[in-house]
């Protein structure tokens, strides 16, 4: 069945099976492979995307549920010219190793910082506790997110 929604600012209509998850639709039909699949049961957070501005797990949503919604993926939070302040902060703090959880981490952190640019370390940890990273031990990720807060206090530097 057809489903129409907006992805990274572009309106798309895709033909999907009713049982297809949104993450499979994004990755396989729309070829947006920056969103990763780590568990398919809503625990690891690698597939986190923004759905109408909220960070959600694309493995727990059916594609058809996205009808009429605004979807933003890691591709939509990136540009060719330069890293965003949040991305640059991840790099500066060595908050990335294998990179597999990173798009989900950045998407979750982006949603948090957009809503709460003054959040403290405990709040960052609490929100990121829904995203599993097996490489870093999280310490550098928390530092990276905290360090990027200032960029979210001025609206124009948000991506």
């Amino acid at each position: 069945m057809p489903v129409s929604f907006e992805v990274n600012g572009k309106r798309v209509t895709v033909e999907v099976e009713p049982r297809m998850t949104l993450v499979d639709c994004l990755r396989h039909q729309l070829r947006l492979t920056g969103t990763h699949v780590g568990c398919e049961h809503g625990v690891c957070g690698a597939c986190t995307i923004l759905l109408d501005g909220e960070a959600v797990r694309a493995c727990l949503i059916l594609a058809v549920q996205a009808e009429g919604c605004k979807v933003v993926t890691i591709e939509g939070l990136s540009n060719d010219e330069a890293l965003t302040p949040l991305q640059a902060s991840f790099r500066r703090h060595h908050a990335v190793q294998c990179g597999f959880c990173t798009p989900g981490m950045i998407t979750t952190a982006h949603a948090l910082l957009t809503a709460e640019p003054d959040c403290d370390a405990d709040r960052v940890r609490e929100v990121l506790s829904g995203n599993i990273c097996r490489c870093t031990g999280y310490i550098s990720i928390v530092e990276a997110v905290l360090d990027a807060r200032s960029a979210y206090r001025t609206p124009e530097s948000q991506s």
């Binding site: 690891c44 591709e75 790099r91 190793q97 370390a121 999280y138």
Partner: protein
């Protein structure tokens, strides 16, 4: 001017794609005509296959084929071991697909090829498999009994016994003034990677070429195995390394799927991709760590260790996989850790059970054996009325004893020695950083409803697994350089690290270097990334290749400038003649300058060493443990990139904490895996361990390689079990709690606390 990229916290070049979601992992590939493979796995731990009926499955629209053992002429081949391939292990090696018997839950039985994974999974439900169940062997005790055999023709479930020996333990124990004997156990963990495994194979019938994507860790080794199993020459196969979402020892070994997918692709003449789901990953990727030990120590009354002896049983799972024996060997070899123990007699028996086969997981054998040893040491220090720090200090191998020979492992008579170091230094530095003198006043005290405990553990980390690594350097037309590596990238940041090493060796800017790694297409030969070897072995190979290239440059420049080569001054990518005429590397870039280099360490390992200290608070009512502080100090010989190194140590420490408190693969007595999701197998999350610190020193370079570097990817995980189990035991010492088993899951610790409180 010489560069000094080595030693600098250079930001990783990999991150530019990873933070934008532009990494390319194997599941991101989708060539035209792709078929998806899904695998039917055994739901029975032990049984005889009576029949497999796939007739209904192949009728489903979109299902292309169902492959079983019957499709393999001559029967399914077995996967040969890569490390310690002893003849005794041969009969226990795994077939690429179950034929007449299944031996663990998760063993592949059939492969479905379909137009999508969803259709393939529909088909799985329509395959009828009739299995006659047999009683399962779910632990070492049942395995040792021998009345239920996994391999009837072997007459035993015991695959091998390794021994570690030095001195004369019997004589030492006979006259020892003090001995203590204890039993400990560690549970089953695995090197869970965030990216599940995946393989994609493309067969070109016209040229007879096979391309396999998704390679990791040891592509060259795996190509050799695959070529043999497929009956192809090695050069007909290209193994392609994509971005890899974590390795930890488990990913990249040759698994059944590494044959099944290429086999299927050749069979149907279309590209075939298989991506593991998380449930499969939990039951199909190598497990590790499950061991139990009965160990005895002999000391003088003032705390000099005289001897160590004992026996360990390792639960191997159903088959001997490619590196399945490494953990068991290491339990034997490293039970003595960084300590001077003149007499050792430890043996380790490998028992087959109806569980997922084991392989390596970061710090294989060493995490386990450090827990056994450091727990024992704390008990001994307490018995003898000695300070636990002094006891360790007294017995650490001294700098003057380097190189220090450690116990010999048999049956293959493996000898090794510690390369360099002053083990007291990391101990002292760690005590200072941690604030031991002040904090240890809290030892065993109950404050605001929580018991405080502090402890330490010392460790060594073997690295730079031999024998060899290769690298190539090519000067491109535009004056840039391409480095080709035999080493693999599994997320450690090797592109950045090798670029740093190459830029320093060639005396050129970092930005002029491109690093290609892993795939078999860049070099004739390569070894890979395991045993904390990539930076040391691969990095040394880059140094050798760069030196060769500069020699070639000198020879060519001499010819062009008409001066003898030895008269040229070489610096900053320039060759300058005595009269001032000069040529730069870029001037000669059209000449196709390139060089290959290899580095062999004659299998002389490097030994990073260090100390870890932990401070915990245990809730007196709920037994919840908070790690208030954890500090690890190690000496890695030479630091190439402080950022990536620090990330490895901290990341490994937190992984270790998961293994101490929450991660456990649990089986019931029928061999059913009870922890089949990430809601059951609990990995640390961001709120769990915020207080982890690591300090790495570079005081004693390894004499065994030109960089002086030591392997450092695993040390972070090795001391965690010992230090934390000691800290919790010390916290609860007034209640008489002694930890003898890991993981220390909340229910396990709670019941220990309940029992202790009841009897107190």
């Amino acid at each position: 001017m010489k560069n000094s990229y080595v030693g600098s916290a250079v930001e990783r070049r990999e991150d530019l794609r990873f933070v934008r979601g532009r990494g390319q992992y194997v599941d991101d590939l989708a060539p035209d005509g792709l078929l998806h493979a899904v695998i039917l796995r055994s739901s029975v731990a032990h049984g005889r296959i009576r029949s497999i009926d796939a007739a209904a499955a192949v009728k489903i629209a979109g299902v292309h084929a169902v492959i079983t053992a019957r499709d393999m002429p001559g029967g399914p081949p077995r996967i040969a071991m890569r490390l310690q391939p002893l003849p005794e292990f041969k009969p226990f090696e795994q077939s690429v697909i179950a034929d007449t018997k299944v031996r663990y839950v998760g063993e592949p039985i059939a492969l479905v090829l379909a137009t999508s994974m969803a259709v393939g999974e529909d088909a799985l439900d329509r395959i009828v498999v009739d299995i006659e169940p047999l009683p399962a062997v779910s632990d070492c005790e049942t395995s040792a009994n021998g009345d239920r055999l996994l391999f009837a023709e072997q007459g035993t479930n015991c695959a091998m016994t390794f021994t570690a020996e030095c001195g004369d333990a019997v004589a030492a124990f006979a006259i020892a003034p003090y001995v203590r004997r204890e039993k400990f156990r560690t549970g089953r963990h695995y090197g869970l990677t965030m990216e599940p495994r995946g393989v994609m194979a493309e067969w070109d019938a016209a040229t007879g070429q096979l391309t396999v994507s998704g390679a990791a860790k040891v592509p060259f080794f795996n190509r050799r195995i695959l070529a043999k199993l497929m009956g192809l020459p090695e050069d007909a196969i290209a193994m392609v390394e994509n971005d890899v979402g974590g390795g930890f020892g488990a990913r990249g070994e040759f698994y059944p799927e590494d044959f099944l997918i290429p086999f299927a692709a050749r069979q149907v003449g279309r590209p075939v991709k298989w991506i593991e789901d998380r449930r499969e990953n939990l039951m199909a990727m190598n497990h590790a760590r499950q061991a139990q030990v009965d160990v005895e120590i002999a000391c003088t009354r003032d705390g000099a260790i005289l001897a160590l002896r004992g026996h360990a049983d390792v639960d191997m799972g159903a088959y001997m996989r490619t590196n399945g024996a490494v953990g068991s060997r290491n339990v034997a070899q490293f039970m003595s850790g960084p300590y001077r123990i003149p007499n050792i007699d430890v043996d380790v028996t490998l028992f087959m059970t109806n569980k997922t086969p084991v392989g390596t997981y970061r710090g294989p054998g060493r995490f386990e054996t450090d827990f056994f040893r450091e727990r024992l040491f704390d008990m001994v220090a307490k018995d003898l009325g000695l300070d636990r720090v002094d006891f360790r200090r007294r017995n650490l191998v001294a700098e003057s004893e380097m190189p220090y020979a450690i116990a010999t492992i048999n049956p293959f008579e493996s000898k090794d020695q510690f390369d360099s170091g002053d083990y007291q230094i990391t101990l002292d530095r760690c005590l200072t950083e941690f604030g031991w003198d002040e904090k240890s006043k809290l030892q065993g005290r109950l404050i605001d409803g929580r018991w405080h405990g502090l402890a330490l553990g010392c460790f060594i980390e073997g690295g730079a697994a031999g024998p060899k690594e290769t690298a190539g350097v090519t000067l491109n037309d535009d004056g840039s350089f391409t480095i080709a590596m035999g080493s693999s990238a599994v997320g450690q940041g090797v592109e950045t690290v090798f670029a740093q090493i190459a830029a320093d060796a060639l005396e050129i800017p970092l930005t002029s270097i491109r690093v290609m790694h892993g795939s078999t297409t860049y070099l004739k030969e390569g070894y890979g990334s395991y045993g904390s070897r990539a930076t040391v072995m691969g990095g040394s190979a880059v140094v050798v290749a760069a030196q060769k290239l500069l020699e070639n440059f000198r020879a060519l420049a001499a010819k062009e400038l008409h001066v003898p080569p030895e008269k040229l001054t070489m610096a900053d990518g320039q060759a300058t003649a005595p009269d001032g005429r000069r040529l730069t590397l870029t001037d000669l870039s059209a000449h196709g300058l390139s060089a290959e280099g290899s580095f062999s360490n004659n299998s002389k390992a490097t030994y990073t060493y260090g100390t870890a200290l932990a401070h915990v608070a245990v809730d007196a009512k709920t037994a919840r443990v908070e790690v208030l502080d954890y500090v690890v100090v190690d000496d890695v010989g030479r630091i190439i990139n402080p950022h990536t190194l620090h990330g490895q140590v901290i990341g490994a420490a937190v992984q270790g904490l998961g293994g101490v408190f929450s991660e456990e693969l649990v089986y019931d007595s029928n061999g059913q895996l009870l922890s089949g999701s990430l809601a059951d197998y609990l990995i640390p999350v961001a709120t769990d361990y915020p207080n982890v610190r690591a300090i790495s020193l570079e005081l004693h370079p390894s004499p065994n390689n030109p960089l002086g570097a030591k392997g450092a990817g695993e040390g972070g995980i090795i001391p965690v079990g010992g230090a934390l189990a000691n800290a919790v035991s010390n916290a609860l010492s007034s209640l008489g709690v002694e930890i003898r088993e890991l993981p220390l899951t909340p229910p396990r610790l709670w019941s220990l606390l309940q029992k202790a409180t009841a009897s107190a």
